[in-house]
C-alpha cells in the first residue's frame, strides 16, 4: 500500500470516529444544564479562533499579509449589514487587490 493510501485510510477512519463519537454515544439525549451553558459558548470561542488563525496563521507562524486587508474590508461590510455573499466577494477582491500591488 502506498503512503498516500495509508494516510487516506487512517485519517479518514480517525476523522469519522472523532466526528461520530459524541452523536453516536450521546445522541438524542439532552446535555446536563451546566454543560449546555458551556456548549453555547463553544460557538463564539471556536469561531473567533478560526477567524484569528485563518487571518494571521501560516503553519506555525503568525504573519501579516494581504488577508488582513480582506478581513478588515469584510468587517466593515458586515458592520454596514451587507449580505454574507457580498461580504465574501469584498474580502476576496480586497485581498486579491492587495496581493496584486505586492502587500
Amino acid at each position: 500500500m502506498s503512503a498516500a493510501w495509508a494516510v487516506v485510510i487512517v485519517v479518514g477512519l480517525a476523522t469519522m470516529s472523532m466526528k461520530a463519537v459524541g452523536p453516536v454515544l450521546l445522541g438524542g439525549r439532552p446535555l446536563p444544564v451546566r454543560l449546555t451553558r458551556v456548549v453555547a459558548l463553544a460557538g463564539p470561542a471556536l469561531l473567533a479562533a478560526l477567524v484569528a488563525i485563518n487571518t494571521f496563521g501560516s503553519g506555525r507562524e503568525l504573519v501579516l499579509d494581504a488577508r488582513v486587508v480582506g478581513v478588515a474590508a469584510a468587517a466593515i461590510a458586515l458592520w454596514r449589514r451587507a449580505p454574507l455573499l457580498l461580504v465574501v466577494a469584498i474580502a476576496a477582491a480586497a485581498t486579491a487587490a492587495a496581493r496584486a500591488v505586492g502587500a
Binding site: V7, T15, A20, G27, A93
Partner: protein
C-alpha cells in the same frame, strides 16, 4: 421540503463557491504531492475536513512520512470531538442516521446550524452538509484532473473568504459571549507559534470554560 432545510440551502450558498475553489486547490496540491488521482478524491469524501487534508498532503509532498502526515491531520481534526458533543443532542434518528449526519459536520455547517443559545438545527446542518460535501469532492476531482490550467485561489484572494465567512458567522452569536470569543482568539494566536498545528483550535475550546466564568459579568 423541510423549512429549515430550505433555510440551510440559502445560508450555505456563499460557502459553496469558496469550498469548491479550495477543493480544486487541494486536488492540485495532493496530485503534486504524489498522492495520485484517486486517493485525494477518496480523502475528500471520507475525511471531509479541509485544513487536515491540506496539512497531510503538504507533509507527504515534503517527504515527511505517513506518521507525521497522520499525526498532523488527526490533531487538526480533533476539534470535531467537542464540536460533535455540541450537536449530539439535536441529531435525530438511530445510530446510523446520527453517524451519517455527524459526517456532514465541518466548521462551516456546524456554525450555520448554530442557533446561538447552544441549540443546533438538524435541517440546516443536513442541507449545508449535502451542499458542501459535493462541492468539496467535486472541486477535488476538478483539481486532480485539470491541475495547473486553473488559477491559484490565492491570486483571487479566496484564502480571505474563510476568515470573512467565520467572522460573519461569529458576529450574530457573540452578544453576551464576548469573553469566550476574545479568549478563544487570544488562546489560538498565542499557541500558534509554540504548539503543533491544530492544538491552538482545540485549546480555544477550553476558552468556553473561561467564558462561563465571565458570563455573569458580560450579560449585565
Amino acid at each position: 421540503m423541510d423549512r429549515t432545510f430550505r433555510d440551510g440551502l440559502r445560508a450555505v450558498a456563499p460557502f459553496a463557491v469558496a469550498v469548491a475553489a479550495f477543493g480544486v486547490s487541494f486536488g492540485v496540491l495532493a496530485r503534486a504531492a504524489g498522492m495520485g488521482s484517486v486517493a485525494p478524491v477518496v480523502m475528500s469524501i471520507t475525511t471531509f475536513g479541509g485544513s487536515a487534508q491540506f496539512a497531510a498532503a503538504a507533509i507527504l509532498g515534503e517527504g515527511g512520512g505517513v506518521a507525521a502526515a497522520v499525526a498532523a491531520a488527526v490533531l487538526l481534526n480533533s476539534r470535531y470531538v467537542p464540536i460533535g458533543v455540541t450537536v449530539a443532542p439535536w441529531l435525530p434518528g438511530g445510530v446510523v442516521s446520527r453517524f451519517l449526519r455527524a459526517h456532514l459536520v465541518v466548521d462551516e455547517t456546524w456554525a450555520l446550524a448554530a442557533e446561538g443559545d447552544g441549540r443546533y438545527d438538524p435541517g440546516v446542518l443536513l442541507a449545508a452538509g449535502l451542499t458542501l460535501l459535493p462541492a468539496w469532492v467535486g472541486g477535488t476531482l476538478a483539481g486532480v484532473l485539470l491541475g495547473d490550467v486553473l488559477p491559484d485561489p490565492e491570486t483571487l484572494g479566496l484564502d480571505a473568504a474563510f476568515p470573512a465567512l467565520f467572522l460573519g458567522l461569529l458576529l450574530p452569536q457573540v452578544r453576551g459571549k464576548r469573553v469566550a470569543a476574545v479568549a478563544g482568539a487570544a488562546i489560538a494566536l498565542v499557541l500558534t507559534p509554540v504548539t503543533p498545528v491544530g492544538v491552538p483550535i482545540v485549546a480555544a475550546a477550553a476558552a468556553t470554560l473561561l467564558g462561563l466564568l465571565g458570563l455573569r459579568e458580560d450579560a449585565r
